[in-house]
């Protein structure tokens, strides 16, 4: 037999094994006696596996309130309070928390639908432009004027390709 399962929440050996079907998907949780008590697993009326999965997904050490979105200042506690995120970037910041939630919430975890192609093209052209502008600055500073002329021409080409669509 394989080595005994460890508790999902602490390093002790798991003695409570739970299986619950949420949205047609099987979820398993293994807990030690103490954690099972603490999470109210022994009280069937007040227990939801999805809540537990949300919490279990967070490594206890990493799950301090230090997790904060650098773009908008949103914290993990704010999500618990509002159930909504602060800004689009939060999905990167809180990725470890979002991923296990999606399993219960959606049919799949990967987007297969429409893609805003025009906006993405615009963004990649924009990124290319800022890179070239950086190169141009450096070339001028280093007095590499032949390179600078080449970068300037490329910048003009990209700008033409973008036409009037580049608004920012």
């Amino acid at each position: 037999m394989a080595s005994p399962l460890k508790c999902d929440l602490c390093p002790k050996t798991a003695t409570v094994h739970l299986t619950q079907i949420v949205n047609n998907k099987i979820h398993k949780v293994d807990l030690c006696e103490a954690c099972a008590q603490a999470k109210g697993v022994t009280d069937p009326s007040g227990f939801s596996l999805s809540d537990l999965l949300l919490k279990a997904s967070l490594n206890p050490e990493a799950a301090t309130d230090a997790m904060r979105c650098e773009h908008c200042g949103f914290t993990q506690n704010d999500f618990k309070k509002h159930g909504r995120f602060g800004c689009p970037h939060c999905y990167e910041t809180f990725n470890s928390m979002v991923e296990p939630m999606l399993d219960n919430m959606h049919k799949g975890t990967n987007h297969t639908g429409k893609v805003p192609q025009k906006a993405l093209d615009r963004k990649s052209l924009h990124d290319r432009l800022s890179a070239l502008e950086g190169n141009l600055d450096q070339a001028i500073k280093a007095e590499r004027y032949e390179d600078a002329a080449r970068f300037r021409d490329e910048i003009n080409q990209v700008k033409q390709a973008v036409g009037q669509k580049l608004t920012r």
Binding site: H82, F85, Y91, L102, K107, G108, H111, P116, K123
Partner: protein, 361 residues
């Protein structure tokens, strides 16, 4: 276009020819979209919401679809105007209580509406009378692509369109149909239907969305999940669920007519009498009576072309629409009396039910 002229104009729901599919009243699709680099409305400061509002307003103002439409900030709308827009399904209740920087664009024909700074930066919506999932999707897809010309949407290759609430990730799409299901209600089968529909990953709600009741036997059925399937797949799945509900409703009607035609005729006949002669009608009661008349039309007791009258009255019997026809502020019982008066006038000239025909519906 001003809000006053929009309210006075015919809308998609109040003035369409009787739809071919009697059971599906309306099809609606909404897309949740956000602008990259900007905090979501619920977390943004007022100045940030204003910035987003202006960017969205410029993009919408430039779109062909919104030419000659209404463009208004929520703060400029009176409570009554907001209520009327909610009753026409053009804005949500959430938007009507929204803070600074919230607004709405509505197309001239009232089939397109875009809410700005509701839960997400943009909530794009298209609605059409009848069962029209494909047409509705094409229209909203086109508007969304037009807006993408000017707006940088927040998007992740794996999670799709990024939304304030993770339940809307992926396509950001909620497709729904408003269905009239009186026979399933009368024969106590709705609970069973709701359970079956839930198991198929769809949600059933009342007429005005989450938490609203199902007066008039009208229900909204929509997709529950938004990530992991393409828009077309979601729409196809919803379509097949809707078709099967239509079939169940038709079977329930046939069964009721077989086993208990007298009971059904009695309900419809009484509803007709009350609509012609009552002097006090709450909106809930009016909805239920109108629902029975609509069933009567589907069963062939009334001429087919009267269905559009009922569909218009479903909206005009709502509190905001009744209030709007009066110059003074009404108490609820005064409104009930005015509602009854308006319905008496409408039904004075309505065709009499013909109970002699043998319906095969």
């Amino acid at each position: 276009m001003t809000i006053a002229s929009l309210i006075a104009s015919p809308s998609e729901l109040t003035d369409t020819a009787s739809s071919k599919c009697a059971i599906v009243l309306m099809t609606r699709i909404r897309l949740a979209r956000n602008l990259a680099g900007n905090p979501f409305p619920g977390w943004a400061r007022e100045a940030q919401r204003e910035t987003v509002f202006e960017a969205c307003r410029d993009a919408l103002g430039a779109s062909a679809q919104m030419k000659k439409g209404l463009n208004v900030a929520v703060s400029e709308l009176s409570d009554l105007e907001k209520q009327i827009l909610v009753e026409r399904h053009l804005i949500s209740r959430e938007l009507s209580g929204a803070k600074a920087g919230a607004g709405v664009f509505i197309s001239k024909d009232q089939t397109l509406s875009v809410m700005i700074n509701e839960e997400d930066h943009l909530r794009i919506q298209v609605l059409r009378a009848g069962f029209q999932l494909k047409k509705t999707w094409n229209a909203i897809n086109e508007l969304d692509s037009a807006l993408e010309e000017a707006l940088d949407y927040a998007f992740s290759p794996t999670l799709g369109y990024l939304t304030a609430c993770p339940t809307n990730l992926g396509t950001g799409m909620r497709a729904s149909a408003m269905m009239h299901l009186p026979a399933l209600v009368i024969s106590n089968q709705m609970e069973k239907v709701v359970r079956a529909v839930n198991q198929l990953g769809m949600v059933v709600r009342g007429l005005f969305g989450e938490g609203s009741d199902a007066s008039g036997s009208i229900f909204q059925i929509s997709n529950q999940t938004t990530l992991g399937e393409s828009e077309e797949e979601i729409i196809k799945r919803l379509g097949s669920v809707l078709n099967s509900i239509v079939e169940h409703e038709q079977n329930a009607r046939a069964k009721l007519m077989e086993s208990d035609a007298a009971k059904i005729f009695d309900k419809i006949g009484r509803a007709y009498g009350i609509l012609q002669h009552s002097h006090m009608l709450s909106s809930g009661e009016a909805m239920n009576l109108l629902s029975l008349l609509r069933l009567g039309i589907d069963l062939g007791l009334f001429p087919d072309d009267s269905r559009s009258v009922i569909d218009r009255l479903f909206i005009e019997a709502q509190p905001g629409h009744v209030q709007q026809t009066s110059k003074t502020d009404l108490e609820s019982n005064q409104r009930d009396s005015l509602r009854a008066e308006r319905l008496r006038a409408e039904f004075a000239a309505f065709a009499k039910p013909n109970f002699t025909i043998n319906s095969h519906n």
